[in-house]
C-alpha cells in the first residue's frame, strides 16, 4: 500500500502534509479536516488568551490552511475573515512572528484570488500606522518590521493590480483612505505621502487625484507631512524618470531580435528549430510593444494640479506669510519657497506677496542664498508687474553687486539678475542695467562672464536699453533699420507668441522639392495646382503694381512641376532678384517672431506716409512684397497642414531643416518659464587654486601615452638573462668581503664615514 507508507511519515511534518494535500486534495480530505479542526481549537485557545508563547504552532497551521485554502473553498469560507479579525483586533498582543505570518498569509490569499484586493487593503491599511509614535497605543513591539512588511505588501498589491490595465476601483479606494488619513491632522499623514510618492515613482499612479493627495499633504498642519509633500513636487518627476530609465536598462539584457533572426538564417537546419525561433521573436516583439506604451503620457505632477493659483496662494499664506514660517527651519522654508516659485513660474500665477517675502532673505550672508535667488528667478514671468520685479532686482543689485563684496558674490548677483530678466525683461530700468553691464571689464572672470551674458541677453531682447557700444553689430544694424524696432519691453505685451509650427514653410518647400506633396493623392493633384494660380489672380487685383512676386525657391518647384506656368513670371523674377536676396537674409533673422513683425510693420507703414514719396514707394514695394511673401507662406503652411497629418518622421525632418536654417539657435536660447533654474549655475565660474594632489594628477595625466620617452632603466621588454647588477647582488658574501670596496670601508676616516652616513640619510629622506 503505497499511500499508507506515505501516511506513516505524515503526522510529524506539517509542511509535507501541506504538499500532499495540495497535490491531491480529494484523497487527503480527512487529514485536512483534522488540521482544520485543530486550527479551530487553537484559534479558540488563542482568542481566550492571546499569549505570545503559543504562536509557533498556530502560525504554522495558519500557513497550512491558507496554502490549501483554494482546494477546500467550502470548508474554509470564513477563514480569511477570521484571520483579518484576529490581526485587526489583537495585533497588540500577537507575537511579531505570528503577525508577520498572518500578514504573509493574507497576501498569499490575495494572490491566490481567495480574497479581493479591497479586503486586503482594508485589513492592512489601518495596521500601517497603528503602532507609529503618533498613535495613542504606540507600542514599539517590533513595529518597524511589521510596518515595513505591510508597506511593501501594499505597494506590491497596488503594483500587481495595476499591471496591464489599471484597477481604478482599487486605486480609488486606496486614495480615499489616504485622503481620510490626511484629514486627521496628525503625523500619520506621512504614510499617505510616503505611499503616494512611491507609487508615483514607479509610475503606478499618475493621475490628478494622486497629485491632489499631495496638495492636501502640502497644506497639512504637520511640518513633516508638509515637507514630504513639498519634496514630492520638487523631486518626484525626476525620480520617476530615473526609475523608468533603470527599468529600460534592465530590459536591454533580453535577447536581441535581430541577432536571433540572423542566427535563424545561418543555422536553419530543420523546421522545428525555425519555428521555435519564430515563436521567440514573436514573444520579444510583443514584449517590446508593451514595454513603453506610447499612450501613457508622463505628465509632471505640477502640470496635473487642479487649481494651481489657489494652491500657491494657500501654500504661501499658510506656510510663509507672517509668523507662520517660524515652525519651519530655514532649509524647509527654502524648499517651500522653491515649490511656490516653481508653481508661479510654470503656471504664470500671481502671488504678489512672494516677491516682497524674498526680499527678507536676499543678502549675501543668508544661508543657501543661491537657492533663494534661484527661486526668485523661477517665480518671475512676464505677467508679473515690472515694478515688483524691479524691486527684487534692485535689492539683489544693492546687496550683491557692490564694491565691498567678493567677486563670487557679485557674479552670483548678476547671474541671478540675468535669470530674472530673461523671464521678464521689463523688470529693470536703463541706468541700473548699464551699471551692471559696466562690470564686463571686471578683473574677475566670473563677474566678467556674468555681465557679458547679461549684455548678450539684452542684445536679443531690447538692445535700446544697452549702451551704444554694448549693442553689437547685429543689434545695431537691426536698430538702424527701424522696421526691426521692437521698442522697450512693455508689461502686458506678449512677445513670444508662436502660431502654427515654427519652420513649417521650410518643411513644405522641402516636400515640394521632393515631390512628396503630389504623390499623396492623385485626385488632389489638380486642386493642388489650381490654388497657387488663384492666389496670383487675387494678388493682381489687390495690389497696384502689376508685378507678381514669386519666391526664388518657389520658382524652382514650378520648374520641376509645370513648365508652362513658370514662363510667365520668369522675366519679372530678374527684376526682383535684388530685393529677394535681401528679404531672404533679413527674414532668417526675423523668423522667430513673424507675427509680431506683422504688427510692427503696420505701424511703420503708417509712419512712412509722412516721409518723402520716393522713399515711401520703395518701402511700400518692399513691404508689399514682404506681405505677399508672407501670404504665400501661410498658404503653403495651410496647404501642408490641411492635406496631411504630420508623422513623427515629418517632425524629425522639420527639426533637421530648422537646424540647417539656423533657426534652432533662436529656439534653443528662448527661455521657457517652465525651465528649472539651477541654483549651482548661478554662482558662475569659480577657479580655485589647485592643491598638490590635483597638480600631480594633471601632471600624470600629461604623461600618459608617452612611455617611450621616459628612462629605459630596468624595463627590458625582450626575454633576457640576469643583468650584471642582479648578479652583483646575489654574489656570495664571503667572496665580496675581501674586496677593496668593502675592506676600505673599515679604513675610512671618521670624516668620510660621516659624509657617507649623511648622504645615506638624505637619500632615505628623499625616498630613493
Amino acid at each position: 500500500m503505497p499511500r499508507r507508507s506515505r501516511a506513516a511519515i505524515l503526522p510529524t511534518n506539517i509542511a509535507l502534509l501541506q504538499n500532499l494535500v495540495r497535490r491531491d486534495p480529494e484523497s487527503y480530505k480527512e487529514e485536512f479536516d483534522q488540521q482544520y479542526s485543530h486550527y479551530e481549537s487553537l484559534r479558540d485557545i488563542f482568542l481566550l488568551s492571546p499569549s505570545a508563547d503559543e504562536g509557533e504552532e498556530f502560525g504554522e497551521l495558519i500557513g497550512f490552511v491558507s496554502a490549501v485554502c483554494p482546494s477546500f473553498a467550502k470548508e474554509t469560507a470564513t477563514f480569511p475573515q477570521e484571520l483579518s479579525t484576529i490581526i485587526t483586533k489583537n495585533h497588540g498582543e500577537l507575537s511579531p512572528e505570528l503577525k508577520q505570518k498572518i500578514v504573509q498569509c493574507l497576501v498569499m490569499l490575495r494572490s491566490r484570488g481567495v480574497i479581493t484586493p479591497e479586503v486586503l487593503l482594508r485589513t492592512l491599511f489601518p495596521l500601517l500606522f497603528s503602532y507609529s509614535p503618533n498613535s495613542e497605543n504606540g507600542i514599539g513591539y517590533h513595529a518597524k518590521e511589521l510596518r515595513r512588511q505591510i508597506y511593501s505588501a501594499l505597494i506590491s498589491l497596488l503594483k500587481s493590480c495595476n499591471t496591464g490595465s489599471k484597477n481604478q476601483k482599487l486605486n480609488r479606494a486606496t486614495q480615499a483612505l489616504l485622503f481620510n488619513l490626511l484629514d486627521q491632522k496628525d503625523g500619520n499623514g506621512l504614510w499617505a505621502t510616503k505611499l503616494t510618492r512611491e507609487l508615483w515613482r514607479r509610475g503606478i499612479w499618475d493621475d490628478s487625484r494622486t497629485v491632489e493627495i499631495m496638495t492636501q499633504a502640502c497644506l497639512h498642519p504637520d511640518t513633516k507631512v508638509v515637507i514630504s509633500g513639498v519634496k514630492f513636487f520638487l523631486g518626484a518627476d525626476k525620480e520617476r524618470e530615473e526609475a523608468l530609465e533603470e527599468e529600460d536598462e534592465e530590459d536591454e539584457d533580453t535577447v536581441d531580435a535581430n541577432s536571433l533572426k540572423h542566427k535563424m538564417k545561418v543555422n536553419k537546419k530543420n523546421t522545428r528549430k525555425g519555428k521555435k525561433l519564430v515563436a521567440a521573436i514573436h514573444q520579444i516583439n510583443k514584449k517590446n510593444e508593451t514595454k513603453r506604451d506610447p499612450s501613457l503620457l508622463n505628465f509632471s505632477a505640477i502640470q496635473l494640479l487642479r487649481d494651481p493659483q489657489q494652491f500657491a496662494e494657500r501654500m504661501f499664506e499658510t506656510h510663509l506669510a507672517g509668523k507662520n514660517s517660524k515652525k519651519f527651519t530655514v532649509d524647509q522654508r527654502i524648499a517651500i519657497m522653491k515649490l511656490i516659485s516653481r508653481l508661479v513660474g510654470t503656471h504664470k500665477l500671481s502671488v504678489l506677496g512672494l516677491y516682497s517675502h524674498f526680499l527678507k532673505y536676499l543678502n549675501p550672508k543668508q544661508k543657501n542664498v543661491t537657492h533663494i535667488l534661484a527661486s526668485a528667478a523661477q517665480a518671475s514671468h512676464d505677467l508679473v508687474p515690472p515694478e515688483t520685479i524691479n524691486m527684487v532686482v534692485r535689492k539683489i543689485a544693492d546687496e550683491f553687486v557692490t564694491d565691498g563684496v567678493a567677486s563670487e558674490v557679485a557674479a552670483t548677483g548678476i547671474n541671478s539678475i540675468r535669470e530674472i530678466l530673461a523671464r521678464n525683461p521689463a523688470g529693470i530700468d536703463q541706468p541700473l542695467l548699464q551699471d551692471l553691464t559696466a562690470y564686463k571689464g571686471s578683473k574677475s572672470k566670473a563677474v566678467m562672464m556674468a555681465s557679458r551674458s547679461l549684455i548678450s541677453l539684452y542684445r536679443e531682447v531690447a538692445p535700446e536699453m544697452l549702451a551704444k557700444k554694448d549693442r553689437g553689430k547685429i543689434a545695431t544694424m537691426g536698430l538702424m533699420h527701424s522696421d526691426d524696432k521692437r521698442g522697450l519691453p512693455q508689461y502686458g505685451v506678449e512677445r513670444d507668441v508662436t502660431k502654427g509650427i515654427p519652420g513649417l514653410e521650410r518643411f513644405a518647400e522641402w516636400k515640394k522639392e521632393q515631390g512628396l506633396l503630389d504623390k499623396e493623392g492623385e485626385d488632389e493633384k489638380a486642386e493642388g495646382w489650381e490654388q497657387p494660380s488663384g492666389d496670383e489672380e487675387d494678388l493682381g487685383a489687390d495690389i497696384e503694381g502689376n508685378w507678381v512676386d514669386v519666391k526664388s525657391d518657389e520658382d524652382l518647384i514650378i520648374d520641376d512641376g509645370n513648365e508652362d506656368e513658370s514662363n510667365i513670371p520668369k522675366e519679372k523674377n530678374g527684376i526682383k532678384k535684388k530685393y529677394l536676396k535681401y528679404m531672404v537674409k533679413s527674414k532668417s533673422r526675423k523668423k522667430r517672431e513673424l507675427e509680431e513683425e506683422d504688427s510692427d510693420l503696420d505701424l511703420s507703414d503708417d509712419q512712412s506716409v509722412s516721409v518723402t514719396d520716393k522713399h515711401t514707394k520703395k518701402r511700400q514695394r518692399r513691404l508689399n512684397q514682404d506681405m505677399v511673401n508672407k501670404e504665400n507662406h501661410e498658404k503653403m503652411i495651410q496647404d501642408v497642414l490641411s492635406r496631411n497629418v504630420m508623422t513623427p518622421a515629418d517632425f524629425d525632418k522639420l527639426k533637421e531643416l530648422n537646424e540647417k536654417a539656423g533657426v534652432e539657435k533662436y529656439l534653443g536660447t528662448k527661455k521657457v518659464n517652465e525651465d528649472v533654474v539651477d541654483s549651482d549655475s548661478l554662482v558662475g565660474y569659480v577657479r580655485h587654486k589647485q592643491n598638490k594632489e590635483e597638480r600631480i594628477k594633471s601632471i600624470m595625466g600629461g604623461r600618459e601615452g608617452r612611455e617611450k620617452f621616459g628612462s629605459a632603466k630596468g624595463k627590458i621588454d625582450r626575454p633576457h638573462s640576469s643583468t650584471n647588477k642582479q648578479k652583483q647582488r646575489k654574489k656570495n658574501f664571503m667572496m665580496v668581503v675581501h674586496t677593496r670596496g668593502v675592506q676600505g670601508k673599515k679604513k675610512m676616516s671618521l670624516r668620510d664615514k660621516q659624509k657617507v652616513l649623511r648622504a645615506h640619510v638624505d637619500r632615505q629622506k628623499k625616498g630613493k
Binding site: Q35, S37, L47, A77, E82
Partner: protein, 361 residues
C-alpha cells in the same frame, strides 16, 4: 651563545616549523596537559533553582515558567512536575492558592511532546478529580476542553491518544461530565469522528477510510488503543444521552434540595443566584469575535445549543449517526475479539438511543 655544532643543532630545532600532514595527528603542544580521568558514573550538578521549596513565591513562578517551555531541559521539567505533584498530594492547602497558575501550565502540557510529562500531568488531573477538587476544574473547564479538543486533532499520534485519557479522566466525574457534554458536545463528537477516521459526509461516495488493516489490529498495543478510544466514546455518549436528573431523584435526590428542606425557598431563586456552572451564557456567543456564518451542513448543528439532552441526541443522530454506525460496524467485524465486542456493544447502545429519538419524533 654556543658555537659548537651541538648547540647550533639544539637551537635550530626551536625554530624549524613543523609541517602538518594529512592523516597524521598533530604533535602535541609543549604545554599540553592531560585532563582525562576515569570514573564509574558522572553526576552533574542540577540547576540551583530546583532546590528551594515550592512555598516561596518567586520559586514557584520560576519553576512554572521552566515547566512551560518545551525548549528547557526535559529532566528538570520532569523533576519540577514530580515535585509539584508531590506537593499537591502531601499538602494541598499550601499549593491551592496557586492552583490557577498551575492549571494554566497544565493545560499547555496536554500538548507536550514528551510522553512522560503528559502522563505525569494526567496524574495531576486524576488526583484532582478523584479527590473531589472539582471546583477549580469547573472554573477552567472551557479552557481545559479547548486544549483537549486541540489535542484530539494534534498531528502527533501520542498526543491524540493521551488527550482522550484526559477526557476520560474528566468524564469519570458526573458533575464534570454533565458540564462537558453541555458545552462541547458537537465539537467533541466531531473531533472523535475525525480521530477515528469516520466520515460525516453522507453523500460522499467513498465513505470510509480504514485507519489500519485488520491484520495490524491483531497487534495488542494498537487494539488496546482502539478499545480505549471506544471506551471513552461510550462514556461520552452515555454521559450525553442518559438522563442524570432522573437517576438523581431515584437515588439520593438532589443534595441541595435536601439541605434547605425546612426553609421555604422560592422556586425561581436559583435563577437569581450565582450560576453553578462556568460561562452560563456562552451559548449566546455574545462576546466571541469570530462567529460562524457558514452554511455548512453540520454548521446548523454547530450553532444549536446542546444544553439539553434532546438536542444532544438530535445532533448525535442527525449529524454523526451514519458515520458512527458505519465505523462501528466496520470495527465489529475485526478479528480482535475484545475490540469487536466493544464495538458491537456500542452499536446496540447507539441503536437504543436512536430508536428513542425516532419514536419521540
Amino acid at each position: 651563545m654556543g658555537t659548537s655544532n651541538r648547540h647550533k643543532k639544539q637551537k635550530q630545532t626551536d625554530f624549524t616549523k613543523r609541517k602538518l600532514r594529512v592523516g597524521k595527528t598533530a604533535r602535541q603542544k609543549d604545554n599540553f596537559t592531560d585532563t582525562s580521568f576515569k570514573a564509574k558514573s558522572i553526576s552533574l550538578n542540577q540547576k540551583k533553582i530546583l532546590s528551594p521549596s515550592l512555598n516561596e513565591e518567586g520559586a514557584l513562578k520560576k519553576k512554572l515558567s521552566i515547566l512551560r517551555k518545551s525548549t528547557q531541559n526535559l529532566n528538570s521539567r520532569k523533576e519540577i512536575l514530580a515535585e509539584l505533584l508531590n506537593a499537591l498530594i502531601k499538602h494541598y492547602d499550601s499549593v491551592s492558592s496557586h492552583m490557577d497558575e498551575i492549571l494554566k501550565i497544565s493545560n499547555i502540557l496536554i500538548l507536550d511532546r514528551s510522553r512522560k510529562i503528559r502522563e505525569m500531568n494526567l496524574e495531576l488531573w486524576k488526583y484532582l478529580v478523584d479527590n473531589g477538587k472539582i471546583s477549580i476544574l469547573i472554573l477552567h473547564l472551557d479552557t481545559l476542553l479547548l486544549f483537549i479538543n486541540s489535542g484530539m486533532t494534534h498531528l502527533s499520534n501520542g498526543v491524540r491518544l493521551d488527550s482522550l485519557k484526559y477526557l476520560d479522566c474528566l468524564l469519570s466525574n458526573t458533575e464534570l461530565s454533565d458540564l462537558i457534554v453541555k458545552s462541547d458536545w458537537f465539537k467533541l463528537l466531531k473531533n472523535f469522528m475525525i480521530l477515528m477516521n469516520w466520515t460525516t459526509d453522507n453523500n460522499n461516495g467513498k465513505n470510509l477510510v480504514v485507519r489500519e488493516g485488520s491484520s495490524q489490529l491483531l497487534e495488542k498495543d494498537l487494539a488496546r488503543d482502539r478499545i480505549n478510544e471506544l471506551k471513552v466514546l461510550e462514556k461520552l455518549l452515555l454521559a450525553g444521552c442518559t438522563d442524570h436528573t432522573q437517576y438523581n431523584e431515584n437515588g439520593n435526590g438532589n443534595p441541595h434540595q435536601l439541605s434547605y428542606n425546612n426553609i421555604q425557598i422560592h422556586a425561581y431563586t436559583k435563577y437569581y443566584m450565582l450560576p453553578d456552572k462556568p460561562n452560563p451564557y456562552g451559548g449566546l456567543k455574545l462576546f466571541t469575535e469570530i462567529k460562524k456564518i457558514g452554511s455548512m451542513e453540520s454548521g446548523d448543528f454547530q450553532s444549536v445549543s446542546t444544553d439539553d439532552m434532546v438536542n444532544r441526541i438530535k445532533v448525535l443522530c442527525e449529524a454523526f449517526g451514519d458515520g458512527l454506525q458505519k465505523g462501528l460496524t466496520e470495527l465489529s467485524k475485526e478479528e480482535n475479539r475484545e475490540l469487536a465486542n466493544k464495538a458491537s456493544n456500542l452499536i446496540t447502545e447507539y441503536d437504543r438511543i436512536r430508536k428513542e429519538y425516532i419514536s419521540a419524533a
